[in-house]
């Protein structure tokens, strides 16, 4: 019984990890196609090269995609984190009525299928002349990324001891000063984690941009999509490998910060 469980668990972890690990060596192929050549399997150095990384990092198309991903991701993450922090505080604030309703509303972008959201945004942005604009995409990504930020920050806010704020205001501090000196330092790790996750959400998004973006706004995943359909080359594998690296960074940074923010014992009285 125990053996069966062990094997099952190992297989489960393999299922999760192996597909990602399988493409990493393949991204170093010296060949043209996305499969392991006999030279690669024989571990012949001639079968390996970094040429697809060079190809990606020197390609104007990919560099433009990186620039756009950064611009859109940072823009959306900034707005989503600011609005999201306020909303997370509001949701853990005792005086807020109908919290369940607000939570539902804020989580909605995660629940509605992305293709339906994309259709709705296209129809609406057409009227607003926001199709093919950075503004349009940043707004859309703010909506999509905000729930992620709120969930992350809220988890930390729920552990936050409001007595500290009460104490500060009893001592005569105004709310803004209290926020800056008492609340913010304690929830800062969670806010940074929320911002990182919001950025990652924007970076991952492709369906909405596909619907409402133009050539000028193409991001890394859009360029990958073009690659998957058009010039099938191991350059995509190089990008995918770099994105796996990005995910690793998100986990190390974001999860560490989140864990730290949850571990904070707010001093009692």
């Amino acid at each position: 019984m125990k053996i069966v469980f062990r094997i099952w668990v190992v297989l489960g972890f393999c299922f999760l990890a192996l597909p990602l690990l399988a493409i990493i060596p393949l991204s170093f192929t010296s060949g043209q196609y996305m499969y392991y050549t006999p030279e690669m399997l024989a571990l012949d150095p001639a079968g390996y090269s970094t040429k697809w990384y060079t190809a990606v990092l020197t390609s104007p198309d990919w560099l433009m995609a990186v620039k756009n991903s950064l611009l859109i991701g940072l823009g959306a993450a900034a707005v989503a984190t600011i609005c999201g922090t306020l909303a997370a505080i509001g949701l853990s604030w005792a005086g807020t009525p109908a919290k369940g309703l607000w939570t539902m509303l804020i989580l909605l972008p995660q629940i509605v299928p992305i293709v339906v959201i994309a259709g709705g945004l296209f129809a609406a942005f057409g009227d607003l002349r926001l199709i093919g604009t950075y503004t349009g995409i940043i707004i859309a990504h703010t909506v999509l990324a905000a729930p992620v930020a709120v969930i992350t920050i809220r988890a930390s806010m729920d552990r936050f001891d409001w007595n500290l704020v009460a104490a500060a205001s009893t001592l005569g501090a105004n709310p803004l000063y209290t926020f800056r000196t008492v609340t913010l330092p304690l929830v800062r790790p969670a806010i940074i984690a929320g911002a990182i996750f919001a950025f990652a959400t924007s970076l991952d998004e492709v369906v909405v941009i596909q619907f409402i973006g133009a050539y000028q706004q193409k991001t890394i995943p859009i360029q990958m999509l073009i690659g998957l359909r058009e010039h099938l080359s191991p350059a995509i594998l190089a990008v995918a490998t770099m994105l796996i690296g990005f995910a690793l960074v998100v986990i190390l940074l974001g999860e560490t910060l989140r864990r730290r923010s949850l571990a904070i014992e707010t001093p009692k009285k």
Partner: protein
Amino acid sequence: MTATNETTPGGTRRRIRPKRATLVGLALIAPLALVIVLFLILPLVRFVSLSVDNRETAQWLSHTAAALSDWHGEGLPADDAYAAIARDIRENSDSTSKLAARLNFFEGGMISLMRHTAAQLDTIPPTRAGFVAFHKDWGDPETWRAIYLVSQPLLSEHYLNALDLRADNPTEPLSIEKQPERQQIFQRLWLRTIMVALVVITLCTLIGYPLAFYLSQAQGFAFILGMGTVLLPFWTPLLARITSWQVLLESTGIIPTALAASGLIEGRVPQLFDNLFATIVVMTYVLLPFAVLPTYAVMNRVSPSLYRAALTLGASPVRAFFQVYLPQTLPGVVAGCVLIFVFSWGFYLTPELVGGPGGSLIGNQIAYHFSSSLNWGLAAALSGLLLFTIAAAALVLRVLAPRQG
């Protein structure tokens, strides 16, 4: 329940007046709520309303609608309807091609019929006989069925079509019949979508529950490694994950090549990519973390003492597991299942890229009708049905899920 009476974990009472506390709370939530209402709710309402709102098209056919008001949906209408449509085509010549495209959503062949008619309108006598002599399709009641539908400001036909049904008599929306067999695709796709969702839920639970249990027991490096393995695909952008699976599954990919080389399979290795199998595998992969994480969270809170007590009292480990531990952790499993259902229900990109025609789902039809065929009404009706099902699932979640802190 007012703010003043609420006791904080610290034990003190808050000294803020209730009304002001309410305003502060609402003000904090307002910016994000406003963004979501303006750029999600309103666009969605507007989009889904397109499934019944046919006013734009109806205004191009205002005379025809008036002339058809005493038509009962059977046989051909009288001469005045033919004269009216001739007038409508003439007065809205800029919109003829759009009108034709929308008529064609309900009756194949209308694009060419309308195009020819519009081009020759001046030579056709505006009577039934004249039109029928010009083109036999003007003598087909189906042509008038489509025209009648499109001349009405409110339309239920898109919802019927989304379920492979149609109004037998256009003037009576409740005279429902099945679409001709060649046009029946949606029931099949709805079923396929549900089936895929259920299979994916089952697979995710079967794989995810033991993983969650392992994580809840593991410590130190084993925990970090295990958790990292769950989170890595979770945070890796979807297209990178799909690329990985393409490299694994396509017929020159790693798995078929390995299968062929191993001699396990005789003859041609079956196709693993661009079909339903690939859709299910990749969706399971993408959604597995949503099964592991909520279950893990619940397991983490469940004290193992009850389970140990059952063991001490002589229950076999299997019995103790099914009677004690499983019921205790079930809320996490249910939460995971509902999440996976809600997500899988609207999948679009994954089936599009790995599923081929046999592995495509309702989401792909929405995208197709939205961006290629431009049948926004049908796309909106499919979206409306999709959202309705998700709302129902969310309701189930509220009923079944444990009250959370």
